[in-house]
Symmetry: D2
Subunit: 345 residues, 4 copies
């Protein structure tokens, strides 16, 4: 059984990775690391794990982790993985990185949005881990740049329709809303309960760093530069992300054509659910799952398409998709470890 | 002191009206009515009022209310006021109606969105109570159609810029998010705590009945037909509404021009706050107040303006604006009864 | 594989039963019924199930369900099961009833708290399904009265200590707090989001119908009448229940003796976790799980023990314990279907 | 008009003080200070204040504040006021201190619970600012130790009944539940939204530092040592505190005697509401107000009284009671600045 490790297991995404991997039938979670909590059992930090995942966090060391694991997840703040991942790759390890460091093929975009990149070549060879779209490349990848949560919710509904030429490239506007867990477990006034409750606000309007990530992927898909308008908002909830996308149709409004484009593209893909006509996505319907629910309506008067997509930002938007990538890389069933029955509430 | 009455005081908007009017220094709340709770003290239904507003709800009767009140608020479901309001007007009363029944000058629009109108003439003469824009007409109005919550949050940021010709009429998209109190106190599965918590979803996409209301006002403002794309969403919070509006600029992106258009239009208007550059609206900053906070950013790459506006849907979006209308009608200070200091959290 | 049915699958407890049974490796969920939603797929009511549990709800009929299922869960309002369960038993079916109808051996207590009982004999023979305490009787039971959520959280910490004679019988006070899902999915003003949010209150103080249920069990355990003081409260959350129990110690305060009594009693029982000294139970640590977490502190000055127990009211307090009962009845692993890894948040 | 200052205006209690004092008709808020945010407008930190309280926070200096204010509120972490307050008093200022530093007459209790006290004499002369009980002493006090939030909710229901000898001194158990704002605005993992949401837990069981404060007051009231059992819990809400108190009755259960003791004691006191028989306190009914709602039930079987009291921990539990103390000290109407109409939701 493949042994897997999680570097940075005590953040929210890392802990959710530990949850999924511990229950995964096809791999063995053999090592977890933490800078801040080395020597502490994970269940001390997340007591829901008590008696279930009592494994102790280790300090990170390349030697130690390479000895204990065959495939490694890095769930670390941006900038740290570009230093660590090349050393793991040198030792023959395959890596799924959850930061932004390996999401860009055009490293200049990364550098404009983040900081200088010290592992350009590796970044150029890494594969963008949007599983439903790039499964073939993922299967043989050495390094996966696991997509950001916002890009996942934006790209899954858009790519099939953009590929099909149904939308005007320059008309795309994405209004996204995310639960607070997206900000992670680090201490900030803006993440305090009393600041989030009964609060809803936009932030980093048209300047969020996930925007260039979306632009790169869509530009590659279209073969021409695409720059969408992207506005993220913060929801008073823990887990959940919903994106409402607006785009002009290139042809006459035809709901059937749109439906058949989406259902065709995602036929047989277990984690994308195209909502039937009488339903629209809701974050609670995907909470704790790896699903992306997609629905749409046509605004006929304005010949605009309105796409709505919902994910759990920590699962399909982070840890779940990371495991889905691993499943593809290891030739396992794509749903392994990700098929628990959703909660009704 | 003017005596005022509230017809329908036990819904959320009616109760908030009672709260504001009870504390208003320039009027006397002299009668409240309720179909369902006739004979019951308002403080039985809303125990926060115990010892403060213990007034008993009466059954509605035209005679009784006309005897007891000079100006009347009707906070009733759509369709009921079109029957009641004309009878109050006949008796010489001035009315602020919180339903949709008197918001439309073009009654055909109303009938297309709601149902046949039985008081067309009165509706055509009523005044749309968007206080910051139509104060002059409001002062002398007999019947006010108090604006919907969504239209208030949509129109306040848009009207100054549309009047100034800064935005392309056909490009306007409004992505709105509302707290649950907007659905009122009536029983519905969708308003249960367990269904709302950790839930976020769009509803009535491009077919909400507030959309024609916005279209009528904007068309009148522009002198040409305007049909915006409008998508409402439901937030897991009680009070609060935030609208993110996207529109293409007619000229080159010029943040200063937009700022000066907005600040100029709202100079001296006590309830609209144009956010300084380093701030964006947040529903919690207007909670329990009659403020509308407006902020914006320019997406230069796409020459798009992004407007963000926040209100408390029950105050500026309903009861507070209704009282503001009353203040204008009675020649009182516009802020009377509406100037309590906001809560910091 | 044993075929199981759920009568009343569309309430919150019924839906959580469907969730657990659908993912259960040892049984087949073969039929679900609903009065209100007969003919409707369960995934229409709980869209998180879409593509996962699309089974259609049937109208209830004894013949039909007896044909399709070997063991039946009844998740119905009190009073209905006393009519239905005997007819299922007559047909040779084993039943786990989630209502109060079969929780009492002393039917007079039931009748004092609820209504006349029309299946007294069957009730007297039924087994109280508190799995950690009555496992032996459960294994061979024909009808299980699945414990109430409050009694589960009250009895698990108390029974070992009462049996050991460590607590004064007459001194027990239980202050319980429950999430809103305990009120079910039925429409009531008190369950609306706007009424629950930022609300916390006691209800049915010292007169809740779960109190006689606790009293009956504790009296039987002690061989003498016990009547505890029980006060339930409503928490602004969906799932979760925490009970703080106060009791005088019969001997000198000895934390070690208490710890060893509890850990001894629950040694090897997979779903009770006795918290280590540096931890106390929290509802979020058991959310979505079948765990009961128990912690305690001694108030030496007053020679009082303070016990704290946390469960998910829908899982260990309802559907999960029901499945645990089934596992015991069928000779399956007690944790089958109940061992998914808890969420860290 | 009396000029008042707030030292430490940017914490939650300090900000709520600023809110109340800014709207107070009888005093002028003339200076606010902040260590962390000196030079910053209060409305930058709490944007709800924008355009309302734009006053800039100053660095604290004894000279400056004594020049600008006649009465001073200190809203600082424990230990800081014992250094500052004596210097203000020397300059002839009257002080309402919101920390624990001046709540104890028996300074040894303070030192056992907190740390060595460097202003023992002043502490011994300070007045405990529980307004409904100690109004006479408060009127002429130089320094007020403003009660803790938990003690306020515990003492108001208990003192009248203890004075009347209706309760057994040794039998009192208080189970308290507080909203998160009680933890203040400082950064701690436990105050993050994702840690608080769907969480409910006890903390500092039988060892919270408000316990000795309650014990001192009750011992003084009873003329004999009293040590109650006190367990605080954390609620997933911002503002609100509810205490459920259990005590044995000295005589036969007589609900009328209890009611008349409470209503007699609080007759004419504007901020204590004794709930009528059909109502029990709820945190939402006192949210944003200075009310303390008190209700009760008798558990006849056990001859126990169950008292329930609800306050807003930031208002009656902190800033509101501080202003009420000021009103008494200055001979103003006790309700001045505290009489805004409560929100219905």
């Amino acid at each position: 059984m493949t042994r897997v490790g999680v570097v940075g297991a005590t953040g929210y995404a890392g802990a959710d990775l530990a949850r999924i991997l511990h229950g995964h039938p096809g791999v063995e979670l053999s090592v977890i690391t933490s800078r801040q909590y080395a020597g502490v059992p994970l269940s001390r930090i997340y007591p829901s794990f008590e008696g279930v995942i009592d494994r102790v966090c280790e300090a990170f060391s390349v030697d130690s982790i390479c000895e204990k694991a065959d495939l490694i997840f890095t769930a670390l703040p941006h900038k740290v993985p570009m230093d660590i991942v090349p050393r793991l790759v040198e030792r023959g390890k395959r890596v799924v990185d959850l930061s932004a460091d390996f999401r860009f093929r055009e490293v200049d975009r990364y550098e404009a949005a983040y900081q200088p990149h010290t592992a350009r070549t590796l970044s150029e060879k890494a594969v963008y881990g949007l599983c439903e779209v790039y499964a073939d490349a993922i299967r043989s990848a050495g390094v996966i740049g696991n997509p950001g949560c916002y890009p996942t919710s934006v790209l899954l509904p858009l790519i099939p329709l953009m590929r099909a030429g149904l939308l005007k490239r320059s008309s795309v506007i994405c209004d996204s809303k995310s639960g607070v867990s997206g900000a992670g477990r680090s201490l900030s006034i803006g993440s305090l309960y009393c600041e989030v409750s009964e609060s809803f606000r936009a932030y980093k309007v048209a300047e969020h760093r996930h925007n260039p990530e979306m632009n790169e992927v869509l530009s590659r898909e279209c073969g021409q530069p695409v720059a969408i308008t992207f506005v993220p908002h913060l929801l008073p909830m823990s887990r959940g992300m919903l994106t409402t996308t607006y785009a002009e149709l290139t042809g006459p409004a035809d709901a059937d054509a749109i439906r058949s484009c989406l259902t065709g593209f995602y036929a047989g893909r277990p984690f994308v659910r195209i909502c039937s006509e009488n339903r629209l996505p809701d974050t609670r319907n995907v909470r704790g799952t790896n699903f992306c629910d997609i629905g749409f309506r046509v605004d006929k008067k304005n010949n605009r398409l309105i796409l709505i997509s919902a994910i759990d930002n920590l699962v399909k938007g982070a840890a779940g998709q990371a495991v889905q990538n691993m499943n593809l890389m290891l030739g396992l069933d794509e749903t392994a470890g990700l098929d628990s029955v959703p909660f009704p509430l």
